[in-house]
Structures are given as C-alpha cells and as structure tokens.
C-alpha cells in the first residue's frame, strides 16, 4: 500500500492567488494512497525541503508529489531532497500547478478543480513508481580519432594533452589533410604548412598518441565507454621499423608519371612515394596499382637500392582490434568534381582549374614552386576569372547549400595572384559575398580596395576557347543585367565542398546519422553540435558541414573536451529512464516473441538480441534485449511492441494507464 505525501506550494502568491491551495491539499488528503498532505508558502526553500524530508521520515512515505512549478525547473531539487531523506529519488514527481494552471487561468472554481485533477493524476502515477538506480557503465580511457586532417590533429593533441590515450587513424600515407595542401590561409595570409607541420610533428612524437596511417575503420561495435574498433592497416609494402625515410627508392623508381593526388593532378609522383616532402610519417608506401612489380612481376629496383632492406613486397593488409571508450570522427570533406558543369569547360580546357588546384599552384611547395603558371603551357596568366558558387547554392545541378569557405578563399586567391603578378587582372563572378567572421569582411575589402580585384555580381553562362584565350561570358546583374565578356588566360572554379565519397558507408559502420548530402548529423543543431546521436561518438570539422579552419579547430577542441569529460570518470552514471524487455519464469521466460519491431523503431540501435538457453545450453528462445548504455529513454519501442513485452522505467504502461484513469475518474 502506497503512503504518498502531497506537498502543495503557494509559490509566494504565484499559485495561491488563483488556486485555493488549502482546498487542493484537503482534496489530495482524501485520495486513496495518500498518507499526508499539506500546503506551504515556498516548497523549494530550505524550510520547505526540510518539511518534505521530515515527513518522509516521520510518516514513512513511499512516494512524494510536490505540486508547484514545472518539473523542468525543480524536479532535480525535490528528487535530491527525497534522496537525502532516504527515499529513492525516482519516487518523487512534480505536479505542475504554476505554468500549467495558476498562470494560465483566472481565479475560479474551475481553476482550483483543475489543480485538484492534476494532483490526483499524479497520485495515480506515483502509486506505480518503482525505485530506480542510476546506471553505471565502465569507461575505457582511450579515444579513437578517425581522420588526420587539422580536425583530427587538434582533437588528438587536446585529448592526449589531457592525459588520455589516443589512436589516430588516417587513410592516406600521411596526416595533414586538406590543410596541408593549402598555400596561404585567410584572413591573415599566413602559410598553411608553416602553422600545420609543427602540429603534425607533435602528433607523431606525442607519447599518448598512436598514429596509424594508410589505415581505415573496418568495423565499430559496442557502446559509449566500451567500443571495439577493427582497423584495417593497408599494406605499405615497407617495413616501417627498418625504413629510415632516406628517399633513395623514390629517386630510383622508374614509374615517375603518376598524377600526384597531393598536387591535385598538377604534379607527378612515383609508384613508391611520400605524398609531400613534409609528410608525417615521412616514410614511403608502394602504390600497388601503379608499381611495375605488382603489375608485371618485374622491377624490384627499390628493393635493390634500399640501404636497410626495408622493402616488403609480400606484406598484406593487417586487421588491428582496439578497445576504445570514445570516437571522434574527423574525416573532412572533398571538393566537388566540376566536370558535370559542362558550361565551364572543366576537363575540356586545361586552364580551367578548381580552387584546390589553384592552392597548389600558389603554394611554395607546389608543382610550380609558387609561381602562378597555366597548366597548359606554363605561361604566366595575365587575366584570371574566378567563378564563385561553382556547384554551391545551385539546387538544380549542384548542391543547394552554401559551401561557406569559397567567398573567402576566392578573395584570397585573387589577392595572392595580384601579389605575385602585379600587372595581372583578376575578376570574380559572385552571387553574394558571404564574409561573416572575425576580420573576414575587412579581408574582402582589402582585396577590392588595395589589390584592385574586380567583383562582378552575376553568373557565368559559358566558358569556351578561342585563339588561345578562354572566353568567359557572364552577366553583371548590378548593371541592369548587362552581358559581360572577358578574354581570360585562366579560369578558377570555386567548387562546392561536398562530403567524402566514403562518408555514407562510414556512417553506417558507426551507426551515426547523416543528412541528405552525406554530411554527418550532430545530435542537436544548436546545443549538441559536436555530439552524434550515438553516445560516445563525436564530430569534428568539415565531415559535419563545410567549415573553415578556425571553426574546425574550435569544434575539434570541443569534441576533445567532450571526450575528456567522458574520460574524467571511471564509470558513467546515467538517468535510469531506459526501456526493459520483461523476463518471467520458465517455460515462458519472456512474453517477447522476437519480432524485433522495437529494434527497427529504436533511433539509437540500443536493442539487440538475447538467446535464452536451458540448463543444457540449448537455445530455446530468441528475445530482444535493451542495452542500457545506449538507450536514451524515448520509449518509441514501447508503443511499437505488439505483445507489450517491452516497457520503459519511469514512464511504464502501468504508470501511464494509471495516470490516465486517475485523471478521468474524479
């Protein structure tokens, strides 16, 4: 038999001015199961809380209802008070007499009656409340960071500096990502390599960071604090312990004309290669697709010239299993392949290039050593046209979203060009200039005012070649849509930033959600921007949405902070509002019939299966099982269950039906 205590709060006059609180307390006292009821001016004050604690002890209350303000305001306060008096905190509920009653109705009989109804409703629920205990989950204090661009580097360093172990997995032979390809960075024009490479070296030398390059995530199982990751280490065909990185193999490799990925196809590389001179680790890998030995079985020159005998042609992919407590996904972005925009002539004319290719041309370590030269004939272009929004904000052929970084890097490109080719002429076709950010607008102004970059507001309709010139036809919408024609030597397309080609597959491996463009989805667009819907997996950088470097670094540090918070405890404590599949005595064991409708409904992949065996170990029933570490307590599975075998603690069927019945039976 329940012994419920009902405590009606006046909230100063907030409640008592419109609700006859004395009558509510009286009416509550007459309800079945109510042992004690009273009213008080401020229930949340110290004397108010003391009154509750005292009554719990004196009357041996088994449940408490505080009828006051919204539970969203003071539920934790009163649950704590109950807990300190020895009553399980989940036996305490709040009836909302202020926001849902006294503040929204005038003083009347009906208002008091409603308050009585609200209290009675909750008495019905509390009768069926069960003591709940917060769920403890152990934590493995190692983080897995996927992706070694600036986001992954920043997250890894922050987590490692907080004293935790990090495994950083990068799919390419070197870390560095897109940032290592950039020439200079906006809005300060400092050299990208100069600020990035010290960080890359720090990662390689950090005692808490284990770096796995040329490796990819194969599988991820488990849940927050307890993930099991399988990493595929692709065969580098090199014994990394023996290799000193001297580079003799690279100079002697006969296959020299492979387009370099790092130089976006503008430079060449060998079959045994390091992607760029400052690579970390600075040890080569053999590209099996282009190596003569792998193709024809002959060559092995690298093996002959290697002074330490580090070449291993028979090396195979290796699978490594890791136990990690948290995952930071920092897989970055890609630039859109602009060939489907046939009007711009990309792929048809060599001198129509992408913004990323322009970065390589402008980079001191690039194929032209920083001189802006046309890919077709190596001449210095006299006139360059930049096309902003090549694929962005274009729902019909490209992506409907804004890629965010292009306005800034296009201004930067034009500026760099003007600095390098003083007599050059640069024109930018744009839709809008979006330069929101610290010192960003000033930067664009500088390009216009100091470096004389021409901005034309309008779109380019066609680019074609005539007498060795690229004729750019566009329109100036600020001049009554006047057609514009420019004879350019080079055209640079600010192509849209898109999700990586493998993003969808990776998201499915990790059970995180992704949007219509395959960017990974954050748990909440405002308040949980680094979390995913899977607890323990965090996002950093442009894999979530296009971002510039400062934003990426902030988010990466944010993700690292979230990991550090997670790792600050040996055990995780969670609200025990989770779903449970019932168990009963043999021969039924559970009313669950194993249809797994609940598993399909669960947004968190929290429902797995359990095999019930008899004493001989034979499987006699296959039923659903909720992983309390993953369950977030939405209860969608409960409404789905056809045999009513799954229920949710805190909002159980018993509680909710009793609540409905109490409400309607006065």
């Amino acid at each position: 038999m329940s012994k419920i205590g009902v405590f009606i709060c006046h909230c100063g006059e907030n409640i008592s001015a419109t609700v006859d609180v004395v009558r509510v307390a009286e009416a509550a006292g007459k309800l079945e199961g109510v042992e004690f009821s009273t009213d008080y001016k401020y229930m949340c004050s110290d004397p108010g809380q003391t009154l509750i604690k005292q009554m719990i002890k004196e009357k041996g209350l088994t449940g408490v209802i505080v009828a006051a303000c919204s539970p969203r305001m003071h539920e934790p306060t009163f649950r704590k008070a109950c807990s300190s008096a020895g009553l399980n905190p989940y036996m305490c509920e709040m009836s909302n007499l202020r926001e849902h009653c006294s503040w929204v109705h005038d003083k009347s009989e009906a208002t008091t009656q409603k308050a009585i109804d609200l209290v009675r409703t909750l008495v019905g629920k509390v009768k069926y409340n069960k003591p709940l205990y917060s769920i403890k989950v152990p934590v493995t204090k190692t983080a897995l960071v996927i992706g070694g661009g600036i986001a992954g580097i920043q997250s890894s360093l922050d987590i490692a500096n907080a004293g935790h172990q990090v495994v950083l997995v990068e799919k390419d032979p070197s870390i560095g990502g897109h940032m290592s390809q950039l020439s200079e960075t906006f809005p300060t024009l400092d050299c990208s390599q100069c600020i990035l490479t010290p960080r890359m070296v720090e990662v390689a030398q950090h005692p808490n960071i284990k770096l796995l390059t040329y490796a990819e995530l194969e599988k991820l199982e488990g849940f927050i604090g307890n993930f099991k990751a399988t990493i595929r280490k692709k065969a580098k065909s090199i014994d990394e312990d023996l290799c000193t990185g001297c580079g003799t193999c690279i100079t002697k490799c006969p296959t020299k004309k492979i387009p370099s990925e790092f130089n976006t196809g503008l430079g060449k590389r060998t079959a045994i290669y390091v992607p760029f001179p400052q690579a970390v680790p600075n040890k080569p890998v053999i590209d099996k697709e282009n190596c003569l030995y792998y193709k024809n079985g002959k060559c092995k020159i690298c093996e002959k010239v290697c002074p330490t005998g580090a070449i291993r042609f028979d090396q195979e992919d290796e699978l490594v299993e890791l136990e990690v407590g948290a995952v930071v996904v920092a897989t970055g972005f890609d630039v859109m392949e602009p060939s489907k925009f046939s009007e711009y002539g990309y792929g048809k004319y060599k001198d129509v290039i992408t913004g990323l290719q322009f970065e390589r041309l402008a980079s001191a370590s690039g194929p032209t050593l920083g001189e802006i030269r046309r890919p077709s004939d190596g001449k210095i272009p006299e006139k360059i046209v930049f096309v902003a929004c090549a694929g962005s904000r274009d729902p019909s052929k490209g992506k409907p979203y804004c890629s965010k970084i292009c306005c800034m890097y296009t201004a930067k490109h034009a500026m760099l060009y003007q600095h390098k080719v003083h007599h050059g002429e640069s024109t930018i076709f744009y839709m809008d200039i979006r330069s929101a950010g610290k010192n960003y607008e000033e930067f664009v102004r500088r390009a216009i005012v100091e470096d004389d970059v021409k901005y034309i507001r309008g779109r380019v309709s066609k680019v074609y070649e005539e007498n060795g010139k690229l004729i750019v036809k566009g329109v100036d919408t600020l001049l009554n849509a006047k057609p514009v024609e420019i004879q350019a030597d080079m055209v640079v397309l600010a192509t849209a930033a898109v999700a990586n080609s493998g993003a969808e597959e990776l998201a499915q491996k990790m059970h995180i959600s992704y949007d219509a463009y395959n960017f990974f989805s954050e748990a909440h667009p405002k308040l949980k921007p680094v979390e995913t819907n899977t607890a323990g997996i965090f996002l950093a950088g442009a894999c979530q949405a296009p971002k510039d470097i400062p934003e990426t670094v902030s988010q990466a540090s944010g993700a690292a902070a979230k990991v550090a918070i997670l790792f600050s405890q040996d055990e995780l404590s969670r609200e025990p509002v989770v779903a449970v599949v019932n168990r009963s005595a043999p021969p039924l064991y559970s009313t669950c019939v194993g249809c797994f409708m609940c598993a399909t409904a669960c947004p968190y992949q929290a429902i797995g299966e359990e095999l019930i065996t008899n004493r001989k170990g034979e499987v006699i029933k296959r039923v659903a099982k909720v992983n309390p570490g993953l369950c977030q307590g939405c209860g969608t599975c409960v409404a789905f269950c056809r045999s009513k075998s799954i229920d949710i603690d805190g909002y159980s069927n018993e509680q909710m039906y009793s609540e409905v019945m109490a409400l309607l039976n006065d």
């Binding site: 969203r72 109705h105 009347s108 109804d117 947004p603 409960v638 019945m661 309607l664």
Partner: protein, 148 residues
Amino acid sequence: MNEFEPKIVAFVCNWCTYAGADLTGTSRIKYAQNVKIIRFPCTGRIDFMLLLKSFGEGADGIIVSGCHPNDCHYTSGNFHARRRWIMFRGLLDMLGIDVRRIQYSWVSAAEGAKWADVVNTTVTAIRELGPYTDYAKVAGYLEKEANV
C-alpha cells in the same frame, strides 16, 4: 449557465510541447481549464491504446502534441508517432470515434502562444461535438444484457 465542459486529455512530449506549455505559463497567456496534460518522454512513446483508454474512461477529446518534424529530441520518435497516427486515424471510424475528437499537433518549446491556441480551438471544437458517450452506452448495453 449550463454549458457543456468537455474533459480533454493532452498527451505531450517532455521536450517540446511540455516546455511550450510552460512558456504559455511564463508568458501568462490565458486558456481554457478543460485540458489536462500528461507528460511523456516523446510522442513516440504514446501508445494509441492509451487514447482509447481515455475515451473509455470518459474523455471527450484528446490532444496529442510533440516536437515538429526534424526537431525530435530523440531524432525520429515524432516521425514514428506521425506514422502511427496516420494508421490509427483510419481505424477511428470503425471504432466509433469521431476523428475530430483527436487533435494532433506540433508545438515547439518556443510556441507558447500556439499552445494556448491549440487548447482553445480544441475546447471549442469538442464543445460543438458534445459529450462522448458511445463507450458508456456500449457499457450500459452490456450490463443490461448481463442482467437479463
């Protein structure tokens, strides 16, 4: 004054509509006393058997309200609820319940004024429909049969 005062139960989710109704309170927007809220973690938790139970126990009308599509605290609970509602709506006629007795809506935590509006329009609509007595009649009929 003998106007019919309908009994209306509101099944709302904790994160959007409950918070929205809190905002109605903090904004001091007045509405009718007829609606009483029952708090759920998510509209996805709302089993339509609970709605039928409410009609069986004497409710004249019901409001179901949660987060707007795409705003669900649990990502997709409200989509499940919406899908379930579409199925359930088709069965109501067969069950002898006028579909207008159930108001399905989305009220976010920022829509305090909308909540008051939903409540008031529902109360007006149910008042026009009159009391729901079909289940009581069935119960009475069964009782009579048993006594014969």
